[in-house]
Symmetry: C2
């Protein structure tokens, strides 16, 4: 509107009668610069409302104090919690985050990563992203510092933050077993998802350990969407020998199962016990009332950010670290003893 040009360090220099370099040093509180002139310069800078250009600084310092965050699905209620955790520590460490939504689409993810690299982010956090293909791998290499969350590579060893899928699945299975279920359906996530695979493996192991029905029919290949839950419920309901309990791939998926159950005139937990994963906010609603495996999402986000920042600061020294968070079975009303 009024005066368009941003005021630069140069303006401060002229106004204070000092050199640009002196101003820079004075404002950064570095070097040997006389206390008096420092005060003076800081005064001037303040009254002028000077704000250094992040861009110019990034160009000069070759570091942007920015970290890229790639999330598979912002619309999933679990995502904002992770992001919040990341943001908390990023803020604290003086970093900004650049948030990208990939929709779980690899092409899109590549585009986003490329854009982040062009923007010279200091590092990336990848929530449930693709990690294997050579193209992705090349981009990760170029990134230097990155942390994977909830999906790790089986071929490469990276910094990783995840949940204890063995323990979580064990808790879930033990609980259903203790209620008397012998036939437990399982909706598994995408095959590229290491978390999904680990849980599936744990499920199979527990089925064997507990001597439950081991039937490939009981595993439904799904993903993390409501739609997939709806399909899964139609599938399980159509089986001649139905399971009495179902473990969903996550809460959103469980809600789909639940919804389809209502549609089919089936009741939860009477006809099916239902067990989710994540513990999103609405899982606790009385109309939903979902027993679920709670993930400490905010803590995991914070953990990922801390891991990343350490990695950035120590400049890729040291072997990859993995941080695994415990889960907590949160019991609500969607599970009961089988009637059959």
């Amino acid at each position: 509107m009024t005066n368009d040009r941003r005021i630069t360090i140069r303006d401060v220099a002229e106004a204070s009668g000092h050199a640009v370099s002196t101003v820079s040093n004075a404002l950064a509180d570095k070097r040997h610069v006389n206390e008096e002139t420092r005060k003076h310069i800081q005064e001037i800078a303040k009254t002028l409302g000077y704000r250094p250009s992040t861009i110019a600084r990034a160009l000069r310092m070759q570091t942007s104090s920015t970290i890229g965050v790639l999330v598979a699905d912002v619309a999933n209620p679990a995502s904002p919690e992770f992001i919040r955790g990341i943001d908390d520590v990023a803020q604290r460490e003086g970093c900004n985050i650049l948030l990208c939504n990939t929709d779980g689409d690899e092409r899109r993810q590549i585009g986003q990563m490329q854009a982040l690299l062009d923007r010279r982010v200091d590092g990336m956090i990848l929530l449930s992203q693709h990690t294997e293909s050579p193209e992705i791998r090349k981009l990760l290499d170029a990134t230097g510092s990155f942390v994977l969350v909830q999906r790790r590579s089986h071929r490469f060893r990276d910094d990783y933050v995840g949940s204890d899928n063995m323990q979580g699945t064990r808790d879930s299975m033990n609980y259903l077993d203790s209620l008397g279920h012998r036939r437990i359906g399982f909706v598994t996530g995408p095959q590229q998802s290491s978390t999904a695979m680990e849980r599936l493996e744990a499920y199979e192991q527990l089925v064997s350990e507990l001597g439950l029905d081991a039937d490939p029919e009981l595993v439904f290949q799904g993903d993390y969407t409501i739609d997939s839950g709806i399909r899964a419920m139609h599938y399980f309901a159509g089986l001649s020998d139905r399971p009495t309990a179902i473990i969903a791939s996550n809460d959103v998926n469980a809600i789909g199962l639940q919804d389809a159950a209502v549609e089919l005139g089936l009741r939860i937990p009477e006809d099916f016990s239902l067990l989710g994963c994540d513990d999103i906010e609405i899982a606790s609603l009385r109309r939903i009332d979902l027993t679920t495996l709670r993930l400490p999402k905010r803590e995991m986000g914070a953990g990922a950010a801390e891991l990343l920042i350490r990695r950035i600061r120590t400049k890729k020294t040291g072997t990859p670290r993995e941080v695994i968070f415990p889960t907590h079975l949160t019991i609500r009303g969607s599970c009961a003893a089988p009637r059959r």
Copy 2:
């Protein structure tokens, strides 16, 4: 890991035996540069895997091709839909978006806006943000181009994208009136929210037009959270002369009302008809089954982005534009004729 230094335009210049400026022109497909050398340079650039630094470019061009998006609450299921709309057109126009979560907190918003300015974004889109205080106003001025969404200033005239609150409220009220409700409760959003105030005004006008009970007791001062919905339901249930229907501030709020109703042993729609606003995904779940006013969120996001980009391109010429989207009453099972 291997070779850390990024390859620059200079590397391309040397490799191709041309000057930096020529390379720049060749890659930008601009100016007069021989078709042959252009091909040659583009070839070299490709094999070298050259990618221009967004940062350097931004510094030189004084424009970052980045737009800041401030959202009050990423966790609200409606937010990602707006964002998606914004992202769609931003992507198409070659812009990246910088997403910030403000929690509806003014201090936080100021900090985020400051950071965006330091980053020299070309413009901002503010979803339900503070717009009035002098401090915010100064930052908006400095931003140059910005678009408000769902919350406008009553003192300033800005580019704005919103929904037709009069028409929407009219549709809702007419619908409840046609079902036979004479006493309609209303949860209003925060007083700083222009949308909330417009709806409240519309509500009052409609109450008068339709000759319904006009009782200040029927208006509950809430906000857009589940918690506020819970409090509202306790409030309405505690009235000696209860309403027979309640209009929530939005869907998330309605879900809170619904949940508290279950807690209090009240049934919806038998004891209370309930009407939301937004039409978030879970509103259509059979367990929720919420009649609600649908907002075209994705379209609104896209509209905001288009408005902003036009504003940026035409460099703040022209009077402020307002784009108002119509709403659509989506009838599900949470409303019925009153029993009393």
